[in-house]
Symmetry: C2
Subunit: 364 residues, 2 copies
DNA sequence: ATTTAGCACTCTTCTTTTGCGAGTGCTAAA
DNA sequence: TTTAGCACTCGCAAAAGAAGAGTGCTAAAT
């Protein structure tokens, strides 16, 4: 995936980097003179022009029109991200902010991700996304049935990913607490660990058999479980900070903006892209690199969130192609680290309140 | 609330209505000549000009600049919506669409609302919102504690609004299934029906007393309950079809668009507005009418969704001030009717699958 | 007293023009 | 291989011009 550095002299690299940096900062095309001033090079602008011409020929730069400066191409950005990027160190203030805000919002994974995406958005000033990927196979690791009234109960399921899902149910025949706990036991015996496509008829029959004369409620309960599992498969995506998209001049082109908003709205493509990604590190998708239709002039940076080695979500940033990659990468890296810590802490303390985490006295 | 019709002659009304209609359709200022052509009036353009001048003086119309046509003012829209609006009949095709799509998505309230907002958005071509309002006071009507492992359990609570919430908990001391069921019983005895602010120390002490030597887990569990209740208070809002905002020329003004997007993002204001509304019918908020800061040139139309006489949510539409009110009102009306039906059906059938499983009994 | 026709006037908007400046490519010298 | 110099090309922005739409007003007509 990475490009051979040979073929790009040190000077060319320096010039390329200077152009990308300048373009990220200013947004406009960058000319030879500007580089000469802001970069101490021992050559003249003419030389730089020559180098630029070559870089353009190689595909790293583009010229919007004949007599403008150069703009990095997609390839140019790719090279920049892969090889030229200097790491951006987060200020301690930023780190503190992450810690505080995340702690305050600590709770279920969904909420953590959402908060993280918000935070990412406000720290970087781009649009943040929080993703719960599609799971190829979720299963349920624990069932519970809660009796409410003679014809009304609730099915609660703890999924293999740790989420808790529930559904209201009405039995067509009356239900009893006893029957419910029998059913729960039976479910726990037979359905735990099964993904939606592995709930087969023989299993259902076995459960009905065990339920004896209370078999009447099995049908709808199983259907509900099935639905729950399919629902989990779906994946979800939340966007925060859309308004920030507008700050960037390239988005004043309404057509492009609409396309991007549409993509953010549909979510399908992005969800697909993220769900299919295997890397656990930070991914940078620039423009049309991926077969997935992300807007032509924008880039998506995202990082999967792992729990016990499994991907349980992702946070990311969407912005213009010329985004400040150094900062974005650092922010996501920092955030994901904090999330990991939090989740661990969360597991070890109680259900999610930031009361200082100290559990010595145990009451309010 | 409504305006005295006297003071507005029939002809003035007709002219005002014509202007609003034309402005809704075209978006630009409308002139006297245009009205003359599209409206059969027995007078000349000069007369219309005179009338328009008077209408402007009364505050129903505005002139963007000296020699443009007139544009309805906020007041003009208000009068239009209150008195002039002709009812728009939904086509059977649209009704069928609502029915089908909603049925397919039937499930928990959240999902119904979301689907409805999507649908509203695509039917009207404006931006849809789905709202779960802040509840002044939620309480919990049933507790259940699920044992997972020696130091790990789940608290499940059914709220007075019918939602089910859950939290993972870790006890600082080991827990036993027995202790958990004792605690659940105790919670059900003492905490049911209480809103967050009415969980007081004496109650907590009573529970701890009842738990005897297992009192150690009470503290964190109570805190969780408390947090759950506050969380419910929060309200939530989802937006769909943001990209549609861009279709309207008034949004090409980036500044305004950004303001509107910001509002949609913050959600606070809108949530406030909706939560505070008492009317059960359709509400139309135009521009800056409300003290709440909705964007100046846009309008919000929403309708609360009732269940057993209580407001459990709302669906709405956000669009430019010059939106097609007739259509929007009809769509929301239709949707809310369907949602009501669905929720009822949902209650009478099983937990959320449209398998046609027919049930006899049903109470709320 | 109301309505109408006519006309001058005012503003916006669209297009065209013009000038400027930034930046390039090329050539010839170092 | 690098540099200095220069003519050339474009895009951008302000200025100028032309076109049109719509009004307000006045004076005549009903």
């Amino acid at each position: 995936m990475s490009f051979p550095d040979r073929g790009l002299s040190e000077r060319k690299k320096q010039i390329l980097k200077a152009i990308v940096d300048a373009h990220i900062e200013g947004g406009g095309p960058v000319g030879s003179k500007y580089i000469l001033q802001n970069q101490h090079l021992t050559c003249s602008s003419a030389t730089i022009r020559n180098e630029m011409a070559e870089l353009e020929e190689m595909g790293y730069l583009e010229q919007p029109h004949a007599s403008a400066g150069r703009v990095p191409s997609e390839l140019g950005y790719r090279f920049y991200v892969d090889s030229l990027l200097e790491h951006y160190a987060m200020t301690t203030a930023e780190i503190a902010q992450i810690n505080n805000l995340l702690k305050a919002k600590m709770g279920e994974l969904d909420q953590i991700l959402l908060a993280a995406s918000n935070l990412a958005s406000s720290l970087t000033n781009y649009t943040g996304i929080a993703i719960k990927p599609r799971f190829r196979s979720v299963s349920i690791s624990k069932f519970e049935l809660i009796f409410l009234s003679a014809d009304h109960y609730i099915l609660v399921a703890v999924t293999s990913t740790g989420a808790v899902k529930s559904k209201h149910l009405r039995g067509k025949t009356d239900v009893t607490p006893t029957a419910l706990s029998k059913l729960a036991a039976s479910f726990n015996r037979h359905l735990v660990g099964l993904s939606a496509d592995r709930i087969t008829l023989p299993i259902i029959m076995r459960i009905e058999e065990e339920m004896g004369e209370d078999a009447g409620i099995v049908g709808s309960a199983i259907k509900t479980v099935y639905g729950l599992l399919s629902e989990m498969d779906e994946g979800e995506m939340r966007v925060s900070g859309i308004d920030r998209l507008l700050q960037y001049p390239e988005c004043s082109d309404v057509g492009q903006l609409q396309e991007l908003l549409g993509t953010l709205e549909k979510k399908e493509d992005i969800l697909d892209l993220v769900s299919r990604t295997e890397s656990n590190g930070i991914n940078v998708v620039i423009g049309s690199e991926s077969e997935v239709k992300v807007m032509n002039n924008s880039a998506l940076v995202f990082k999967p969130i792992l729990q016990d080695g499994k991907t349980v979500g992702a946070i990311g940033i969407i912005g213009p192609r010329r985004m400040d990659y150094a900062k974005v990468l650092a922010t996501l890296e920092g955030l994901s680290g904090n999330i990991a810590n939090l989740m661990q802490a969360n597991n070890q303390l109680n259900g999610g309140f930031s009361d200082g985490g100290n559990e010595k006295d145990g009451n309010a």
